[in-house]
Every structure is written in structure tokens, then in C-alpha cells.
């Protein structure tokens, strides 16, 4: 009897892929995160009332803001990288550099945003 082929989440995450594997995971988290957020947001605006207020209180939570801003920003920047290299496959040979650039763009923006959010949270 052979062992099943199933790859557990733990062993999948233990695989030592490099930069691009990490960005792929984060991109996926970001995409799903946004999809869920957008859905809830639209529904909340639609329903209004108590549910709407409850939903809004979630958005205003600073932890949630840090998370959703991560989703949006990372997904957008990484999505742009993917789009560019997909439309011009020749650029794929520069993927290492592309990942560096991506982080170089993402980190400062995200860092400032987190700082602002936390400051607002502490201040408010």
C-alpha cells in the first residue's frame, strides 16, 4: 500500500520555494481577502441598518485595516508584476530583479500606511 499523494498544507509550506512562491501565496491570500471584503462591503452598503453598522465597525478596526490594505497593495503590485511578465514572456529571465523591485516598492508604501493606521488608532 502506497502512501496517499495528498500534500498537507504543512508540507506544502515547508517546501523551500523562493521569492516567487512566497509572492504567490501572498497574492492568493490578498485576492481572496479582497474578494471577501468587497462582497461583505457591497452587501453591507446594500442592507444598511444594524448589519451595515456592524460591518463598518469591522472596517474601522485598525488590525483589519492593516490586513486589508496589505491585501490590496500587495495584490495590486504583485499583480502588475505578473501581468507584465506574462504579456512579455521574454522578461521572465529578469524575474529575480522583478521580485526585488516589487518588494522595494511595496515595503515603504506599506510601512508608511501601517504607521499612519497605527498612529490614527492610538490617537483616536
Amino acid at each position: 500500500m502506497a502512501l496517499k499523494r495528498n500534500v498537507s498544507l504543512a508540507s506544502a509550506l515547508r517546501y523551500k520555494g523562493q521569492g516567487p512562491m512566497l509572492t504567490y501565496i501572498l497574492h492568493r491570500i490578498g485576492g481572496v481577502g479582497m474578494a471577501v471584503f468587497v462582497t461583505v462591503h457591497i452587501l453591507a452598503s446594500f442592507v444598511g441598518g444594524k448589519a451595515g453598522i456592524f460591518a463598518n465597525s469591522i472596517y474601522e478596526n485598525w488590525l483589519f485595516q492593516i490586513f486589508i490594505f496589505f491585501c490590496v497593495l500587495f495584490h495590486a503590485i504583485n499583480g502588475l508584476r505578473i501581468t507584465i511578465s506574462d504579456l512579455w514572456p521574454k522578461l521572465i529571465q529578469h524575474q529575480r530583479e522583478a521580485i526585488w523591485v516589487e518588494w522595494a516598492v511595496f515595503l515603504p508604501i506599506y510601512g508608511i500606511a501601517v504607521y499612519v493606521i497605527i498612529r490614527a488608532a492610538l490617537g483616536g
Binding site: Y15, K16, Q18, P20, M21, Y24, S85, D86, P89, K90
Partner: protein
């Protein structure tokens, strides 16, 4: 030099569950991981099983996870990985015994992309070779190097998800023929690889490219295939 070698063990004839076995070995840093496995098999436990043949990275038998990454045991030296070495079977294929996995789904996927030269037109009048310029030959050189070791496919998260994804190795084979100026079945292959199980399932994770012991630019090849399915340009 002293190394510890941790090996994934599973013998279906006696074990219910898999486990790790650790061996302390005294070896040279220029030895291959394959040499260590041979040493363990020879002197510590003869039942340790793994595939190997050529011992220099050209037959594709011994792809496995070494310190968490797919590599060929015969093309990885101790000095490349350090003195703590963990060896595990490939992910996403059934483990039959120890480091041996069931390769059938891998080869089945390979066979799906019509991985053979197709040209039913008459041969050149002189009966000689079909002409091909060095440039045309170079176009698909990279993907002719594949030794079907499965290091790429089993490093791909999409394949881990489900083995109906053709996987990078099969796509590499498709690339090798689609971009061969002499081949005439590019359209059939493009149709096959644009199914749900095909190129659309590649999320440019690059694990394949980084695992490939033949240094094939797999992600790039898949990228070219994606564009070819859309534009129909195959040169």
C-alpha cells in the same frame, strides 16, 4: 567531515506509518547525496530504497527533496547543502517505498501533450533531412534538455493541489514540439494545453524553474505557451 543524514522511511510491507531515520556519517564534502544513500544502503540498512542509474544527472531517476527542495541526489554535493541533510520523497505523488514514488501520473500527463514529432508531409525530394536553420533549432533548444525527472512538476503547488494539472514537465515537452519549425501538430497541442488542466493553472510560482536540474527556463517556456495559445504565433 561529519554529517547527519535524516531519511524519510516507509516500507509498505512492514510499516503502517512513515517515519524518519537518522544516520551519522563520516564522508568527504565532495561526495554526492547519492553516495551517502548508497553508503547507508551498503552499511547501515540494506532495505533503504531509492531509484538511481546514471549517477551524473542525466537519467532523471533520483529526483527527491533534499533539505526541503527538489534536486537530483546525484547532482547535489554535500558541500552544496551543509552537514545537516534531510532527504524526503517528492511531493504530490504516492510514496511506494522510502524515496520511491509512483511516477505513473507524471508520465500519464506527459503522454497527454502528444510528446512526439508529428509531420505527415512528404519528405524533402532529395530524401535528406528536413532543413532547419540554426536559429530555428535554437528556438526550442532549452526544452529539448528535459530528462523527465519530475523535479519540476512535483515542486509546483498547482500540481500538489491536483495531479490533473499537466504540470511543467508536460508543458516543457509541449513547448519542445510546438516551437520546432519542422513539426506540424502545434495546433492540436495548443488545444490540449489550453484545457482547464493546462497552462491556465500555472500561477508563475517558479518552483519548477528553480528545481530543474537541467536549468531549463520552464516558467518562461510556459509563458511562451500561454501567449501562443492566445496569439497562435509559434515561431
Amino acid at each position: 567531515m561529519q554529517v547527519t543524514l535524516k531519511v524519510f522511511r516507509y516500507n509498505p510491507d512492514v510499516d503502517k506509518k512513515w517515519h524518519y531515520e537518522t544516520y551519522n556519517l563520516d564522508i568527504e564534502e565532495t561526495e554526492r547525496i547519492l553516495d551517502l544513500l548508497e553508503l547507508v544502503k551498503g552499511h547501515y540498512d540494506g532495505s533503504l530504497s531509492f531509484r538511481r542509474s546514471c549517477a551524473h544527472g542525466v537519467c532523471g531517476s533520483d529526483a527527491m527533496r533534499i533539505n526541503g527542495r527538489n534536486m537530483l541526489a546525484c547532482k547535489t554535493l554535500v558541500r552544496d547543502v551543509g552537514d545537516k541533510i534531510a532527504v524526503e520523497p517528492l511531493l504530490g505523488l504516492k510514496v511506494i517505498k522510502d524515496l520511491i514514488v509512483d511516477m505513473e501520473p507524471f508520465f500519464d500527463n506527459y503522454k497527454k501533450v502528444l510528446p512526439y514529432f508529428i509531420n505527415d508531409s512528404p519528405l524533402p525530394a532529395d530524401g535528406k533531412e528536413r532543413l532547419q536553420s540554426p536559429g530555428e533549432r535554437a528556438r526550442f533548444d532549452d526544452t529539448t534538455k528535459c530528462i523527465l525527472c519530475a523535479a519540476c512538476t512535483t515542486s509546483c503547488p498547482s500540481f500538489w493541489g491536483s495531479d490533473d494539472y499537466l504540470g511543467p514537465a508536460a508543458l516543457v515537452a509541449a513547448h519542445r514540439f510546438i516551437f520546432d519549425s519542422r513539426d506540424e501538430a502545434a495546433s492540436e497541442r495548443l488545444r490540449i494545453i489550453s484545457e482547464t488542466s493546462g497552462v491556465a493553472r500555472c500561477h508563475t510560482v517558479y518552483n519548477c524553474t528553480m528545481a530543474c536540474p537541467r536549468d531549463i527556463q520552464i516558467t518562461r517556456a510556459i509563458g511562451e505557451l500561454k501567449m501562443a495559445t492566445l496569439t497562435g504565433k509559434v515561431d
